[in-house]
């Protein structure tokens, strides 16, 4: 295929603005997928993606389109994750394209993610092509949406296609505009081979399959590839392009094309997203710009609810990490919870998704400890250490100063909620930067916030204070000095390491207070009174008491019916199995979960 007739583009949108639905319509219209194979929202093929309406993994598909001008085109549609946790993946997907369709909901207008992703696209020199979706809704106001796009993003939008992906209105116009608006790729087919990895996954028969955008040169089966960041080399066994339902092998991939390479690669760690692929036969000198190794931002301990399932949990994590190079895990031991894993995630959503997949796809019952960010601790000895587990927080006497990661956040919301949002950001130790009116009644609030304040439940709290109207996005900004303390929880006088966390000194009291209240609610009455205490360095700052229960007896013995009593006891015993024995206290799984959602 002549590069002139190739278009590589992605779709960017805020969650629920119709990105995946539009992708489906495009697939349908280009007859890439037979109708009978259409499952709603084809590109999001994990259950969780469909349920949550989000895209977790990037995906790509090649489409054939015959334009109104009679020419045949090849479209490579690259679906990108829409969430800030996966910002780096998004940026690599964008780097594989020349253009981006920006989908804006005609009734909602611009949202925080729209902005973040659009800026990212512009940064990568992509041609941004706005489309106004959901014009079938009674509340649709396409005019307003176009105005917002022009005013806020500053790109012309008055002639943007006005579509309804749901009912299929004006989809063809979008495809025609892709041809006219998105530039064709321009790579030298005869230059040394140079391709960008924008995704990869593990196939149990073929090994790791890498998705690439060929920037220059060409590759054939049998060529030996070299991954420039990891320096790993492999012989290519199969190359091809991504059909809508399966991979389609071809003999050669050339500059401008999007496709896959299989080379019997065993470890996904060898194939970093963002890395450059070249060939030994015709190597390029320089890798493509923009590669970086993604590091986890949030850590938490994951433990099997039933200690005997440790090995199962390990197997499951290993399998998940085959397909998710950004998931890190290593064994850790908690006095309270026994054997488990310290897992690192790109962000909260990533964490939730991994937990959910472990529970759902691997049928595991988990106990998760409070997520922690990575703190930087400057010791009096002059050494600097990084702490991702509150348990390891050093003795305050040895700490010269401590720093915590900060983010730069944008919150977009109707102006009615400004007060509520500011109050929340204030509580979460935010620094107000500025506030812009996007429109007469919508604002963009700009804050610097400590990451540790948003990893718990910030988004939930934001939604509940704005009736769900606020959108939120952030990016990491670096470290800032902070007054941090380690808060410990004691049950019946014994410290529970799995419940310790690091908090700003000013918030320690209220956080401790809420923790003990939540725990009191979630720990059932037991044989003894259980003091639930929060402490900083041995000093108790909050206390609640779970009263001892008084009566737990089956007094009557049913005329010699011993078996019946035994059955009732057995039932009670089953219930106990779902509890964790911490010292002398039995703690249900929900208690661990409850302290993660303190705002409720």
């Amino acid at each position: 295929m002549n590069q002139e007739n190739i278009r590589n583009f992605c779709i960017i949108a805020h969650i629920d603005h119709g990105k995946s639905t539009l992708a489906d319509r495009i697939l349908e219209l280009t007859s890439t997928v037979a109708l009978r194979d259409m499952e709603q929202q084809l590109l999001d093929n994990m259950d969780i993606e469909r349920e949550r309406g989000i895209t977790i993994k990037a995906r790509a598909v090649r489409l054939k389109y015959t334009a109104d001008n009679g020419e045949n085109y090849v479209f490579n549609l690259i679906d990108t994750p829409g969430h800030v946790d996966f910002n780096y993946e998004v940026s690599r997907s964008l780097a594989a394209c020349e253009g981006a369709i920006l989908v804006v909901d005609a009734s909602q207008g611009i949202e925080a993610q729209t902005l973040a992703n659009t800026y990212l696209a512009i940064e990568h020199d992509l041609e941004v092509m706005p489309v106004v979706n959901k014009i079938d809704l009674p509340s649709a106001d396409p005019e307003r949406a176009c105005n917002e796009i022009e005013n806020i993003i500053g790109i012309p939008a008055m002639d943007a296609p006005r579509i309804s992906a749901k009912v299929g209105t004006n989809i063809k116009e979008v495809l025609e505009r892709v041809i006219t608006d998105v530039p064709a790729p321009k790579g030298d087919e005869n230059a040394p081979f140079k391709a960008l990895i924008f995704d990869s996954y593990y196939d149990q028969y073929k090994g790791v399959i890498i998705f690439v955008r060929v920037k220059e040169g060409s590759i054939k089966v049998g060529d030996t590839i070299k991954l420039m960041a990891t320096d790993a080399q492999f012989q290519t066994v199969e190359i091809g392009y991504m059909g809508a339902t399966d991979l389609v092998p071809v003999g050669e991939l050339k500059a401008g094309e999007v496709g896959y390479i299989a080379a019997s690669i065993k470890y996904i760690g060898d194939t970093q997203v963002g890395d450059t692929v070249t060939t030994i036969e015709n190597p390029c000198d320089e890798p493509l710009p923009g590669y970086k190794k993604v590091n986890p931002m949030v850590y938490s301990g994951i433990y099997p609810a039933d200690g005997a399932k440790y090995q199962d949990l390990r197997d499951a994590l290993e399998k998940l990490s085959l397909n998710d190079a950004s998931l890190s895990f290593e064994p850790e031991t908690s006095i309270a919870l026994g054997f488990g894993f310290r897992c690192g995630f790109l962000g909260l959503l990533h964490m939730e998704i991994i937990q959910e997949r472990l529970e759902r796809e691997y049928n595991l019952d988990l106990i998760t400890t409070a997520p922690s960010v990575i703190y930087k601790v400057n010791m009096t000895s002059g050494e600097t250490i990084y702490i991702d587990n509150p348990t390891n927080y050093p003795d305050p006497a040895l700490i010269a100063s401590a720093e915590e990661p900060m983010v730069e956040a944008h919150i977009l919301a109707p102006s009615d909620y400004v007060g509520n949002i500011m109050e929340l950001c204030q509580q979460r130790r935010g620094f107000f930067k500025d506030m812009k009116y996007i429109e007469a009644n919508r604002v963009d609030l700009h804050y610097d916030l400590p990451l540790n304040e948003i990893v718990y439940d910030f988004f939930d709290a934001l939604k509940s204070r704005t009736k769900g109207y606020a959108s939120f996005d952030y990016e990491l900004k670096g470290y800032a000095k902070s007054k941090l303390v380690k808060l410990d929880i004691l049950l019946n006088g014994e410290m529970v390491d799995a419940l310790s966390f690091i908090v700003h000194a000013d918030n320690a009291y209220s956080r401790g207070r809420r923790m003990v209240e939540k725990l009191k609610e979630n720990i059932p009455r037991q044989m003894f009174e259980i003091p639930v205490q929060a402490a900083i360095g041995g000093k108790i700052i909050a206390r609640e008491t779970v009263k001892a229960f008084r009566k737990d007896v089956l007094a009557k013995c049913y005329g010699g019916d011993i078996t019946r009593k035994k059955k009732l006891l057995e039932k009670q015993k089953e219930g106990k199995k779902r509890m964790r024995q911490l010292g002398s206290v039995e703690v249900p799984q929900e208690a661990f979960m409850s302290v993660l959602k303190l705002d409720e």
Binding site: R550, K551, V553, L554, A555, K556, C557, I562, L569
Partner: protein
Amino acid sequence: MMNKKAGIYIHIPFCKRKCPYCDFYSVAGCDIQKTDYVNALISHIKSYMDKYISADTVYFGGGTPTALSANQLCEILNAVREGFSLTEDCEITTEANPCTVDYDYLKTLRENGFNRISFGVQSAQDSELQLLGRLHSFDTACKAVHDAVKAGFDNISCDLMIGIPGQTVDSLCDSVDKLSQLGVSHISAYMLKIEEGTAFDCDSIRSSVADEDLSADMYLAAVDRLSKHGFEQYEISNFCKDDKRSRHNMKYWNLDDYIGFGPCAHSYFEGKRFYYDRSLEQYVSNQYSSQLVEDNSPDKLYEYVMLSLRLSDGISKETYISLGGNEKQFDKNANMLVKASLAEFTDIGIALTPRGFLLSNSIILKFLE
């Protein structure tokens, strides 16, 4: 601990009227049904004749045993004497509903060998009795007890219910006072438990019964009051004077053999637990052939822990260990419970205190972990 002699339980599944809280098996029953049933029981009981089993307790329970005539009960008892070799000092008990007996009835029982009677009094407050759907007033109960004394019974027990909707600590203590004034030697004080499928299993009753704290308070108050009147607690729910324990019930708790007759009667005999189906018709038509085995080889440790902890004699460390229990676990639990005043050390191990009895389910499970 094992008593070689068995206990005999006879279930009489008839009641004039079903009490709304009760889920024991019983039917109203007409005369023909009763006759058929008595005959079926008698032949079933006699079938044990060639096993030469010696028994030292007989217990008629229900339902309402006194829904049968005194003669019918005596007829059944005679069959027991034929089927089993009863010891001289055999304890022979029948449960009785106060309003189904009079002096003559009781006299007949006594003359034919019954020597213990257990009245379902439940409360000394008529309003509470009405709520429980009982057919008797407290006066009727008093009269029945007096008649029993007159008829020659010197081992009389009364049931007392704790946790009746609307009951207070005061009304309960008043009931204890009044029962002890009747001169009975044994009181069983049961906490009302709402059983699934009974008339009490409804929102209005569930919402009006005592909550956890109140029922615990009432139980402790009753134990205390009973002890003031000279009743010694020997089991979670049972109290007696002059060591007049229910020897039959003790068999359940001591893991001794007992053989039950009648639908829904349970047995522990020859190492297995079995019972008969909850159907009068079936029992009458095919009798003991329909024995249902629940447990062929009951877990001795489990049952020992579960049952011994019901008794004020308590659990023996030696027996616990001999049945496979872990010594360290025993000591750990024992120390923890004693420290919390939920148990006291005894010569052989520990025994629960009244507060401990209230938590016995959790405590039992601790010893079985």
